[in-house]
């Protein structure tokens, strides 16, 4: 129950006792007028004292038990004084009237107390509801926003409103100076004071108390406030002080109400938990990164031992056989053995290049020296070089006419295209066609694609295809394993050149890897050209 209109005329500025007296007087006056009207002709009710219960209920509802009792006693005296013979005295002639009046007093006090208690309960329930709503809102903000940093501004806004504070900010403890996580008035530096109300909390059920603490140096900020009181609540988790929740409000408004204090205390707990969670999550991420890097190293060693040992084994075996005097090699056999060794060395050499590229990408030491190149200039040398290793397979090159030149590092692009083509050649059956295409979807970009008609990989693995040592590279028939480095190098190199690499299903049926590159303008024609 509330009288907003009374608030508006400045009731808030008065003390609660004065207010009770004023309201009590007013309702009693109205009550008396009603009683007088009822007992006078033409109604002439012999005893209208029951009407006085209304002021008692109002007083009880608005101001509690004591106001209700006061009003009851006042009504009792007024009725006696004004309506019981002899009039204008507190004396009572008829002993029956005495009894009636005492009965009235008793009932009035009882009803007043009941009303007061009920209304207090209702108010408390409303306060609790508001408080839990505020708390719920704050928990939600903290839980649903990915980072504490993101949630904190909304939290302080909400707290300032619900705890009726002029300003709220969160200061996190750091080894140097406190870090302001959020502030409802972030445009101004947080103020400080020489005395700060600190919320003293006990572990038990005892309510928290605001304790005035004289802080030697000014805490909380640079500018000192005098017209406002400064409140702070410790944010603590696992026995560690993580920071303080600060609040500021005008000194004359007094101490925060109990529910506001409770809200601030609970919000500080929530915030402390959120801070702690974020700290732990950070630690967990670091642990995860370390774990993954360890896994990567293991995979690398695995890949190296496979990718390197296989050709090395083949070279070793061939060379050993060549050196064996017991074998009568024909000239043709010797030549083939030599070619085997050459092919295996080329394979090893490719792995070394990829490993070097991968480590340069990883360490950030890769610097692309970008220059504008016509696409055919880039594509044709690679195709010419690899065609002999394609065993006469279909290797179609379809470059659109009038492609703009692309901005690439020619050496890196060579590695990219070599990797893609070798990948396609190695991982698809001999009958599957391979196509290299290039087109310019818009003047700022050229899309180069290497696609094949092989069995392809499952679309669900596309996003992971460019990861180092990703599984799909090992999926194909023949039990081939190892590699896994090629496509990750492709992506690393393409990104170093400002481009993008992505995998899709090819119209040919297999895998299509698209490389989009930054295009530039053709240089002007000769000034002296006719």
């Amino acid at each position: 129950m509330d009288f907003p209109s009374l608030r508006r005329v400045g009731m808030d500025a008065l003390g609660p006792a004065t207010r009770a007296l004023m309201v009590g007087g007013a309702v009693l006056t109205v009550g008396t007028a009603v009683v007088a009207a009822l007992e006078a002709p033409p109604i002439s009710i012999s005893d209208a004292s029951i009407v006085y219960l209304v002021p008692v209920v109002i007083a009880g509802a608005l101001f509690g038990t004591w106001a209700a009792i006061g009003t009851a006693v006042g009504a009792f005296a007024l009725y006696d004084f004004l309506f019981i013979e002899p009039l204008r005295t507190l004396a009572i002639e008829d002993p029956r009237e005495w009894l009636e009046l005492l009965l009235f007093l008793f009932i009035a006090v009882a009803i007043g107390r009941l009303t007061a208690r009920e209304s207090e309960r209702a108010r408390e329930a409303a306060r609790r509801a508001q408080e839990s709503q505020a708390l719920f809102a704050i928990s939600r903000m903290l839980a649903t926003t990915p980072s504490l940093e993101g949630a904190a501004p909304a939290v302080v806004e909400r707290l300032a409103r619900d705890a009726t504070m002029d300003r709220i900010w969160i200061a996190l403890e750091t080894p140097t100076k406190p870090r302001i996580l959020a502030d409802t008035h972030a445009d101004r530096p947080p103020p400080g004071a020489t005395t700060v109300w600190t919320l003293a909390r006990t572990r038990g059920e005892l309510p928290a108390q605001w304790v005035r603490v004289h802080v030697g140096q000014i805490r909380g900020g640079r500018s000192v406030v005098t017209a406002s009181a400064l409140f702070r609540v410790k944010m603590e988790a696992d026995g560690e002080v993580l920071g303080y929740l600060w609040a500021l409000r005008a000194r004359h408004t007094g101490m925060p109400a109990r529910e506001h204090t409770r809200l601030l205390a609970l919000a500080a707990d929530q915030l402390a938990l959120a801070v702690r969670r974020e700290q732990l999550a950070g630690a967990a991420t670091e642990a995860e990164v370390a774990r993954r890097s360890e896994a990567l190293k293991t995979a690398l060693l695995d890949s190296v031992s496979h990718d390197f040992r296989t050709p090395l084994g083949s070279i070793r075996a061939t060379a050993g056989s060549l050196a064996d005097p017991a074998i009568g090699w024909t000239t043709d056999e010797t030549r083939r053995a030599g070619l085997t060794i050459e092919a295996q060395v080329d394979r090893l050499s490719r792995f070394v290049t990829n490993l070097l590229d991968a480590s340069r990408i990883e360490s950030g030491a890769l610097r692309a020296e970008l220059e504008l190149f016509p696409v055919p200039e880039l594509v044709e040398p690679v195709v010419t070089r690899l065609r002999p290793t394609a065993n006469g397979r279909s290797l179609r090159v379809e470059l659109d006419a009038d492609l703009p030149p692309v901005r690439v590092d020619p050496v890196l692009f060579d590695h990219v295209l070599t990797n893609l083509l070798e990948n396609a050649l190695r991982h698809t059956p001999d009958a599957a066609p391979i196509r290299i295409g290039a087109r310019s979807p818009d003047p700022a970009c050229v899309d180069v694609v290497v696609e094949d008609g092989g069995p392809g990989v499952s679309p669900s693995t596309f996003p992971r295809l460019f990861d180092k040592f990703s599984a799909p590279a090992r999926r194909d028939e023949g039990g081939r394993r190892g590699l896994g480095l090629g496509l990750s190098v492709v992506r690393g190199l393409v990104e170093a050149m400002g481009g993008e690499a992505r995998a899709v299903r090819s119209d040919l049926g297999g895998l299509a890897v698209h490389i989009s590159l930054v295009a530039g303008a053709e240089p002007p024609a000769d000034a002296d050209d006719s």
């Binding site: 050499s349 200039e377 030149p405 240089p523």
Partner: protein
């Protein structure tokens, strides 16, 4: 003719050196070996070989220093052996005066092809007395500034003509990007690599269009990050 040529190989890795010596000897060259830069220069002074194969990663003397020392005295072809991923070193060596390079690990057939091309170039310019440069089907008439492929005329802009001329005048030799730019566009353009790539591309297209036989298809070979060379038509056929 070239088969009797004397070659100095400078390489500190013994197995590599041995293999090259065995192979080239079998192909009729006579070889001189050096394991370091100082040794190499001594042998160079004593024997004046017809060609030098030089490993860039020598233990004692910096590769380019050896190249410059040789260049001060002669135009003897120098072929560089270099490890992968050292494009800058290759460019430095070429700008110091080296003629070409092969990357380790290299194939012997490739090495011999390069040696053959360099020795032929050293044997004499392919420009004849009338100022006509001929390479396979391609003919440049310096006096008229015209080009033909297999007799069919090719319409070239002045810069395209210049570029083709510079390339054809150094068959078998790897010309760095900077060198080509300076020769064709002038020193102010030595950093404008994209001019070169685009012009080479146009040149290739025009030559291919004039030559349905496809002989000129791979005439100009790109060495990514380094420069261009003219593929030796004759060497490739032999």
């Amino acid at each position: 003719m070239t088969a009797s040529a004397q070659i100095l190989i400078v390489e500190d890795d013994e197995p590599t050196r041995r293999s090259v010596v065995v192979n080239l000897s079998a192909h009729g060259y006579s070889l001189e070996e050096a394991a370091g830069g100082a040794d190499a220069l001594r042998r160079w002074d004593a024997r004046r070989p017809d060609l030098v194969i030089l490993d860039l990663g020598l233990p004692d003397i910096d590769g380019p220093a050896v190249i410059r020392r040789i260049r001060r005295e002669a135009t003897t072809p120098i072929l560089i052996l270099s490890a992968r991923g050292e494009e800058r070193d290759k460019v430095t060596a070429l700008e110091s005066g080296a003629d070409d390079y092969v990357t380790k690990p290299f194939g012997m057939a490739e090495l011999r092809a390069r040696i053959g091309a360099l020795l032929r170039r050293a044997g004499g310019s392919s420009v004849d007395a009338d100022g006509i440069v001929t390479l396979g089907a391609v003919r440049l008439d310096a006096a008229r500034r015209t080009a033909t492929v297999g007799g069919a005329p090719v319409e070239l802009t002045p810069r395209e003509y210049e570029l083709l001329k510079v390339l054809l005048s150094h068959p078998g030799r790897l010309l760095t990007r900077g060198r080509l730019l300076r020769a064709v566009w002038g020193t102010a353009y030595s950093e404008e690599g994209h001019y070169l790539h685009v012009y080479v591309s146009r040149l290739r297209r025009k030559l291919a269009a004039a030559d349905p036989s496809g002989q000129t298809r791979d005439l100009i070979v790109a060495e990514p990050g380094v420069g261009y060379r003219i593929r030796e038509v004759d060497a490739a056929r032999s």
